[in-house]
Assembly symmetry: D2
Homo-oligomer: 381 residues x 4
């Protein structure tokens, strides 16, 4: 490759900071991937984005995302804006021939997501790569979990017990924000947290969800914003049971009101030959129960920091743990590897669409008193 | 009280052994309760029950439960037989004027349970006491949890995440037993394990469940018994979401196929001012998250072995942990205290009926594609 | 055996209650052991001991231990008095031909312990059995640990990291007691807690300690008793490093001032092929690290409640945990089995003497600025 | 400040990579610190260091450290070479008027360390800053621990139980390296791991160690290197008890042969009003036991990721955990802040010397059969 791949990140708040960190560091840890150049950071406030760009290592900043995605020195467009602008920016970037990474969720609606998948397929035929930002796939412990499931280490997975619990809305005095309005956020805990969980269930089992029933709840129906009290129009918490094509069942609970849980994405996989469990608050650890029993069989805590663990060759010696932000660096490396190899990266836009369809089925079920909804799976692969 | 209360236990296998242990030891730890005498152990095999009676400290054994419950030297009848005989024995014992303790579930059907509640009410008016064996209410950590909820320590409970996971059926080669036939067992994991969880949700929150939706699954549809392969006609696992009268939601998962979980009854209560969690495999511990946050707020592990903890004055110094069987001793003491006080003990037959109604609603929902079922609550108090 | 073995317990407070519980229950769980009869409970206060005897299931009570140990209907004398009377009672009981169980420590001085070992050897030749009450050897998880070490599962043990931490003296306002006076208690945390740890190190490794260096500390030098402020003349905490004959090193820390630790006996064994760890506050669990590493090797939590685990056949199904007091029932069963088999039980008086010698070496080292002291091992076997 | 501070890092292997990562990222997370420029990476192999420099974000590479530390565009010299070259490079850099950061240990001998402290004092008078790389001081959970101790939250600390356990030498087949030769490494586990522990004891308690006794052990006396079998001349494991000036006692154990422990730096602090504990393998967590007891007092797990926790404002929302490498970024920020403020950073060269003196006392004690050695404390402040 003659020159480094130029990157543009659109958005510079929480996700923009995390993605910038990934682009700044990916070369140091993954020298075998194509080199990148932090070309331009894009945002609406010229001063603020210029400050952020300087701070996060960007060569340039800009306010016009259309101009930015059209730049010749930009090869990769990384979209970190709110979900309602994902489709428009991604389609424009693909039209301009750029590789595209979109923060999850892929889009706010199934219809937009379907449009994006169509565009991605067309782009792929032209050698243009697309990916959606389910960064937790890159957590080494979860990558190891997927490997162990694929190897049959825990046998056929029958049950998954999954939750993503946070508590930043536990206090009824927490203020109204755009995240609590249906028109801007699309959904509440279900979309924000449930999307990660649904993606991981499908990814770890390599088995799509084909039916879902659900329940939603808004515990604090009114919150006070700058303009006074206002109704909360998204869910605070959601529950679902999901059936997979191969016959597994996943029970799912997500909440922003689970007092004391800060970032509690927990997964328990029970197979007919073993079990796995994981907690994002201890993301360097994976619990493996190997086999069905016996006097010296228990659940073992694997500290996933050995050089033979997924992605760990890139970092430090055993026992020197990674943090949350390293998952974005891994995600960036995987996109770069796919670009170099000319293959479609994972998770794909189609994966993103698959997740949206499951979330949509959960919402429909909740509106119909919990009745199970089936999910079309033509878009899953 | 002029003479010790005479006890008859009906049944001498697993539960009979556990209840015998309680009657043998209750006086040593709770000297303030009325004294008891282990009068007679009843079972169908004369030799086997005689051996068990000698071993477990009984003065007598017998094969005719009708005769046993009519004995003048018997004041308390403790029923440890399978669920399908609970109603008949309990009604006979109440008719004979005996106090009655029934192992859970109260009965195999709602209709039987309703009949028992009616009989219990009539008996209560005559000073005769009845109780159902939800022994986990007596776990000191759970009794402390209930006290803390009642005191408002975690505020209004919004969400409960509950599971009871075992793995003794994880292996498809595990043989067919009466517990896997609908006609003998009534139900599978739902009735056996779910009954404990539903009781604890209602008990800890002091708030009845008013609606439920559910899903059942039999992962291994055929197992081999002495007569060859046979269909499994009960559930291996069950999922439900429950709504309480006060507006809380409980997500529930029970299974006998959760590889690596031996007796994993876990409860997480999330309130608007704190949280609690518990795991039966570590039954001497309660986790308390006190308040909504701050730099030195976390979830604290309380070792529930202090003299001021529920029932702990009866046992050992701090840090000297109790075992599973002590919960039956506590249950016996509570029944004896109620007899002495002339009050109705907890959990009552009505509590047992309330649990049956919730389980029934979950089954009906599962048969109707997950649609939410409401629960009549006239029988709850 | 024609009639049940008659038991006398001397002492009826904390240890007397725990030992009574064992004798009351041993037959129910271990029916294959010789039957016992709770003959007589002995104490100095006639009324109090009569009340305790009735409560704990004894047929008789008495105030004269000399008469009690001479009774024809007493076959086993179980000594639960303070350490300074152990030698006298044990020697009298052995002279009367009774089997003897002595609560730990065997005696307050090495000289007394040596005398007891001599008497025990002579008694053994006459078929009379003796044992010392290191009840933690019977914790199923620790019995499993010993089995795994003996099988070579963790290889040659190089390091043991051990502690026994309690906090009942953390508060300087805690009052003066006889346990804090050298003349009555012999020593402080070292003797009370360190004796268990030293016994377990020697027992689990099956390897005697041959050298020790130590440090003692009294953090609160004066406490107030009924007669006003008084000097504390024993240690509040102790540290030692021990060398075993086979070349292992154990680091030891014991304290009654370790805030937040209630009964924190923790052991970590590091071998050249694996590792084990244990915490008495979670006594149903053993952690095993099996092998030196690899991508799916971690420390596994074994819930030691399976029927094939030591002593567990006697109790409940998997996952139904034991409590602290069950260790005394196991201890009683092991003594009864040894009596039936005509073999010397473990732990023996010689084991008790071995522990005393190590504690003595630690004290001498502490008095000599930490200089390492060697330990004569003629009395170890 | 008119131009960014130019940084030179000497050494480009494990520590060079970790320090480069810190300099590359410090500005993104701590924008309020002086800006830096990654000027030059220095190493002996021109090609290898050039490759590393490009990968890690350096503008230049070089092989002559003397020339590098003399460059006008270099303001900070960060020394990541083996310990035997620390003194020479640091003294040269100070002579050239550069701020100096030295990886721990400060030096291989007390004599060298004293010389460095003298030079640092002189440099400080000229506005030149020096620091030693005890990066674990910056772990947010440990910074919080120090704050809580200083605030009196756990009262007067009486006991510290500390260990640093790794297992990379557990296998006797692990090869000989320079780290196992006394002439190159100075010492074994004691210097490598014990230095961190001793620094943290002194730092967290803000109380110097004044006496020490110790024991060293080499479990595998011979290992095979490229030239065949060779004696191991440093310790594999070390034990010590330390007394602090204020009267606390710390028990210390370090090892490279503790099977299953990868990076197990664990600390338990027991005070007269509470307790704290920490495990580096879970570096985002701190356990706090607040107060002496009561029915709802336990040890609480604080997830140290809240904005009000030390350094956390710089990173992510609550629950988004940090990794091991972020401690170096924090260390860099603290040095930059000190340079900007014109104050001496912590940990200072004097702190490094203090640690060396304690390690030296432990070694002397080990050579004298464990006899306690006192430590001169003129160099501590």
């Amino acid at each position: 490759m003659s020159r480094p791949l130029g990157v543009a990140v659109i958005g510079y708040s929480f996700m923009g900071k995390a993605h910038s960190n990934a682009w700044r560091n990916v070369g140091a840890f993954f020298p075998e991937t194509p080199a990148v150049r932090q070309q331009v950071l894009v945002g609406r406030d010229a001063d603020a984005v210029a400050t952020a760009a300087a701070r996060y290592g960007w060569h340039d900043s800009a306010t016009d995302w259309r101009a930015a995605v059209a730049r010749d020195d930009v090869d990769i467009v990384d979209i970190c804006t709110p979900g309602d602008s994902h489709a428009e920016i991604a389609l424009a970037a693909l039209a301009a021939g750029k590789h595209v990474l979109v923060e999850k969720p892929l889009a706010n609606t199934v219809a937009e997501a379907e449009q994006m998948v169509t565009a991605a397929k067309a782009a792929s035929a032209r050698g243009v790569r697309t990916a959606v930002g389910f960064n937790y796939r890159g957590v080494p412990a979860l990558a190891l979990a997927r490997r162990l499931v694929a190897e049959g280490r825990i046998g056929q997975v029958r049950q998954v017990r999954a939750a993503y619990l946070q508590d930043w809305l536990a206090d009824p005095a927490a203020p109204m924000t755009w995240r609590l309005r249906r028109e801007s956020a699309g959904s509440g805990a279900l979309g924000d947290l449930g999307s990660h969980v649904v993606d991981l269930v499908q990814h770890l089992l390599d088995d799509p969800v084909v039916a879902a029933s659900g329940r939603l709840r808004t515990f604090v129906p009114t919150r006070t914003g700058p303009r006074g009290p206002e109704p909360v129009t998204v869910d605070d918490a959601a529950w679902a049971t999901l059936e997979t094509r191969a016959g597994g069942v996943a029970g799912l609970e997500v909440s922003r009101m689970a007092t004391g849980r800060k970032n509690g994405l927990t997964l328990e996989l029970y197979g007919d030959a073993g079990a796995l469990s994981f907690d994002l608050e201890r993301l360097n650890e994976l619990q493996l129960h190997d086999g069905l029993g016996g006097p010296t069989t228990g659940s073992q805590r694997i500290l996933v920091t050995e050089p033979e663990h997924p992605s760990l060759h890139a970092w430090w010696p055993p026992g020197h743990v990674l943090g949350w932000d390293h998952t974005f660096t891994i995600q960036a490396a995987e996109l770069l590897d796919a670009i170099a190899a000319g293959t479609d990266p994972s998770p794909s836009f189609a994966d993103g669409l698959g997740v949206q369809r499951v979330l949509d089925a959960i919402e429909r079920s909740a509106q119909q008193d919990g009745r199970t909804q089936t999910i079309a799976d033509d878009g899953h692969e």
